[in-house]
Amino acid sequence: MTLCKKKAFTLVEILVAAGVTAIFLGMAVSMFIGFGKNFSAGEGSAVLMQECALFVARLRNDLNNAVKDNTNSFITIDENQIKLNVYDSEEGKVKPVIYSAVPQANGCYNMTRRVANGSSRPIVNGKIASFSWQLKEEVISTGTPPIKSIKRYGVEIDLKMGSSDLKNKSFDFKTIIYPIRVNKMR
């Protein structure tokens, strides 16, 4: 009878190896979860930032080309709507442009833009959680003779981007847009 010599792991070896493996795997999994969470939060914010940037760029462009009408007015702002007269340099015409915030079932808003009698086109689809816009009129005395008072207009925008499908993600943005053409029409 020959004895078969089998070399196996001892209980201590198995326990130590399992412990080391558990530590490595634990670290790897927690890193993976942490990075994954940050990445998904960042990715959601990037989507919101992009939508915000597009909306602000479009509004800034329209405000910078806004002109006063016969009544010396260039803009009407109410709670959910901005109406302005925008000079279209391609056609050489002044056209009314309307921005409307349309409330959605999820509590967020769509932002649409309509030119003259055309149809409303969406700029932001349901990703505005809350917003406010306000016209600021500032009277400045020129100080040097001949002293006169001038008005500097600015439109203050406060946006909070977010939506129910991008849970826990938000992008807050605040700015003042100074309509250059209007401010130069003195």
């Binding site: 080391v20 994954g36 990445f39 930032m49 500032e138 100080g143 500097r152």
Partner: protein, 144 residues
């Protein structure tokens, strides 16, 4: 029967190799996120610069005083040079503005003013590294 099993050292080394192989994919997540943060700060710096340019060029030409202005001069609610116009800033104190206004003279008359706005901003939230974003505009003197 002589079976050779894996030793503890072998298992540990293989785990370390596995971690090293996985590391680049974890770092890819991290750098992607950092890139998004950088874009966020760039966007805000760009907007801050445009905001300063727009409010400056919205003033009458003779009120746009030439000179160099740094973050201690460009403060929300503070007067622009010795004029009655005040700065309105909606960006946070992480963004450090500087403005240089230069006269462009022709036939002893100021025909243009060159406005350069520079915003110094952090690259990411936790980074100490900072970058500059500049916008330059030329303003025409309508009275010449």
């Amino acid at each position: 029967m002589n079976k050779k099993a894996l030793s503890l050292v072998e298992i540990t080394i293989s785990m370390a190799v596995l971690i090293l192989v996985m590391l680049p994919s974890f770092l890819a997540f991290s750098s992607g996120n950092q890139g998004i943060q950088m874009t966020d700060y760039e966007f805000r710096a760009h907007n801050a610069a445009i905001e300063l340019v727009e409010q400056t060029i919205s003033l009458p030409f003779d009120m746009i005083k030439s000179g160099q202005y740094d973050e201690s001069d460009i403060v929300d609610g503070a007067n622009f040079a010795d004029t009655p116009a005040v700065f309105h800033l909606s960006f946070s104190s992480e963004f450090k503005p500087k403005m240089l206004i230069e006269d462009i003279i022709k036939n002893k008359k100021v025909v243009f003013k060159k406005v350069t706005v520079t915003i110094n901003y952090p690259v990411t939230k936790l980074s100490k590294q900072r970058k500059d974003f500049s916008v330059k505009v030329i303003i025409n003197n309508d009275s010449v």
